[in-house]
């Protein structure tokens, strides 16, 4: 069952889809909350999140996919989006899922992709009681990534930042600097299972970012899988199937 849902945070309405296992309506089920990447939405590229959510629902795990403020269908403007706002939305999504019927609130998981991985790693250490985390192509060193993009993109750092024809606010860069490194401090406080999945040929977020998460993590059960020949969003049938299978089996095992 896929239900269209919405919840409010800091004055904006956020829209999402709640996937619920078909056969287990009367019992409490675990739930994974998905955080999409920068310029992405709750379906993610080639509908990776939609497909993974359906797979998890088949395996008895509920999923909430939602659009961060300014992205996808959610209220707000993309140019006002910052990582700080996304961290707030990420927490609000977890609070929201706890209010839903038939969710086992002590069995919540997080999956984050790219910038959503940064948001997920930070949230995992801050939000009490997260039981399992999967980081896909996750950004670990946010400022160094953006500094590179700024220099390559405009030839200088300090001018207006344009992405896909949309101007980002100064606050976007300020927030990256403010939170840079805090994700790595935060993930150390998270001790439950962590799976890191990264494409060996990720041209956006270097594979070293995934390795860094795995290295600093204090989880009692942690694993890193680097998928050969895979790009940033696992954009081929083979690598996508592999990423989906890994994440689905991980949550099945750890939630």
């Amino acid at each position: 069952m896929e239900k269209l849902v919405d919840f409010k945070n800091k004055g904006e309405k956020l829209f999402g889809v709640l996937h619920y296992p078909e056969t287990l309506k009367k019992i409490k089920v675990p739930c994974v909350v998905m955080y999409h990447g920068f310029t992405g939405s709750r379906t993610e590229a080639h509908f990776l999140f939609t497909k993974l959510a359906r797979k998890l629902a088949k395996r008895g795990i509920a999923v909430l996919r939602f659009d961060f403020r300014g992205s996808g269908d959610s209220e707000g403007s993309f140019s006002d989006m910052t990582v700080e706002e996304e961290l707030s939305d990420a927490k609000a999504a977890l609070d929201f899922i706890k209010t839903q019927k038939n969710i086992a609130t002590d069995r919540l998981g997080i999956l984050g992709l790219s910038m959503g991985g940064f948001v997920g790693s930070y949230t995992a250490g801050q939000y009490p009681g997260i039981k399992s985390v999967v980081l896909m192509s996750a950004v670990a060193r946010f400022w160094s990534l953006w500094r590179k993009l700024l220099v390559e993109g405009t030839g200088r750092a300090g001018g207006p930042v344009m992405v896909g024809g949309i101007k980002l606010s100064k606050n976007f860069i300020t927030a990256i600097k403010k939170y840079d490194g805090l994700n790595l401090k935060s993930i150390v406080d998270y001790v439950n299972p962590l799976l890191v999945i990264h494409g060996a040929k990720d041209p956006v977020v270097p594979v070293e970012d995934g390795e860094l998460y795995h290295a600093v993590s204090a989880s009692y059960k942690k694993k890193i899988v680097i998928i050969e020949n895979a790009g940033h969003t696992f954009e081929s049938k083979r690598s996508e199937e592999k990423a989906i299978k890994l994440a689905a089996s991980w949550f099945r095992e750890t939630l």
């Binding site: 590229a45 080639h46 896909g164």
Partner: protein, 258 residues
């Protein structure tokens, strides 16, 4: 202003979308958006969403929806064909015609890339007043032959049964349906009596869309060429002329369906 998530169609085969309604009780003009293949109801960098929000300021409602097999809608992309897309596109128009907030005599369509093909194929079946084609692929078969299949068939991850478009599986029956839908498409488009605005990143492509519209004798065609410096630098029309596209689209519908 109201933005609602909506779904329609049979259980298990539901189409999901976003309905934007102006504030108040009146009956409103409405635009239905058709996205391109591999995209979703937001389109690249949320272009469709931003046009929808701009239309609201002029008191125009809109529906953005995912075809089955795409985005949030039920189904798998490998089962999608042009026929299922046409059916879904028509369901979208039927859905807004059923809503009491919508003025059934003031319907517009918006088609980007292959969504333009779908818009042209169903416009004649409904009381559609105007269409905006954005970088539309009206000659859809030629579009596939030249742009999509070129260099992709036989790539490692493509199998005989499906085509791997950067992780999105498109079945062979989709390719077959492009050919089989062509005749019906031409017949349907001939029935369309409204106006057309063509927005394209270059003159040549705009000319091709114009020729297709002339062929079916559309009475009023306006071309808006989004010509800019560095046209061939590989960036999409969306990132380069985003604000101009939004403004041109909204002013057009204000003058044609309001």
């Amino acid at each position: 202003m109201k933005e609602l998530q909506v779904s329609f169609g049979d259980i298990g085969r539901e189409i999901r979308g976003m309905l934007h309604l102006p504030e108040g009780k009146g009956k409103y003009p409405c635009v239905v958006f058709f996205h391109g293949l591999t995209e979703s109801k937001n389109e690249a960098m949320f272009l469709f969403r931003n046009i929808s929000r701009e239309l609201l300021k002029s008191g125009i409602a809109s529906l953005r929806m995912d075809y089955r097999g795409m985005g949030d809608s039920d189904g798998e992309s490998r089962n999608m064909t042009v026929w299922t897309q046409l059916k879904d596109a028509a369901s979208g128009v039927e859905y807004v015609l059923r809503r009491k907030e919508i003025d059934n005599n003031k319907i517009g369509l918006y088609g980007m890339h292959s969504g333009g093909y779908l818009a042209s194929a169903i416009a004649g079946l409904f009381p559609v007043k105007s269409i905006v084609f954005l970088d539309a692929a009206l000659n859809y078969r030629a579009y596939w032959e030249h742009k999509v299949l070129n260099g992709r068939f036989g790539s490692k991850s493509s199998t005989k049964k499906s085509l791997d478009l950067n992780g999105l599986q498109i079945g062979n029956k989709y390719l077959q349906s492009i050919r089989s839908s062509e005749k019906r498409y031409n017949e349907n488009f001939k029935e369309y009596k409204g106006t057309v605005l063509i927005i394209n990143k270059n003159k040549k492509e705009a000319g091709a869309v114009y020729a297709a519209c002339r062929y079916v004798k559309i009475p009023a065609i306006k071309i808006k060429k989004m010509v800019f410096a560095g046209e061939n630098n590989g960036l999409s029309v969306v990132s380069q002329s985003r604000e101009r596209i939004i403004t041109a689209s909204c002013r057009w519908f204000e003058s044609k369906i309001k």
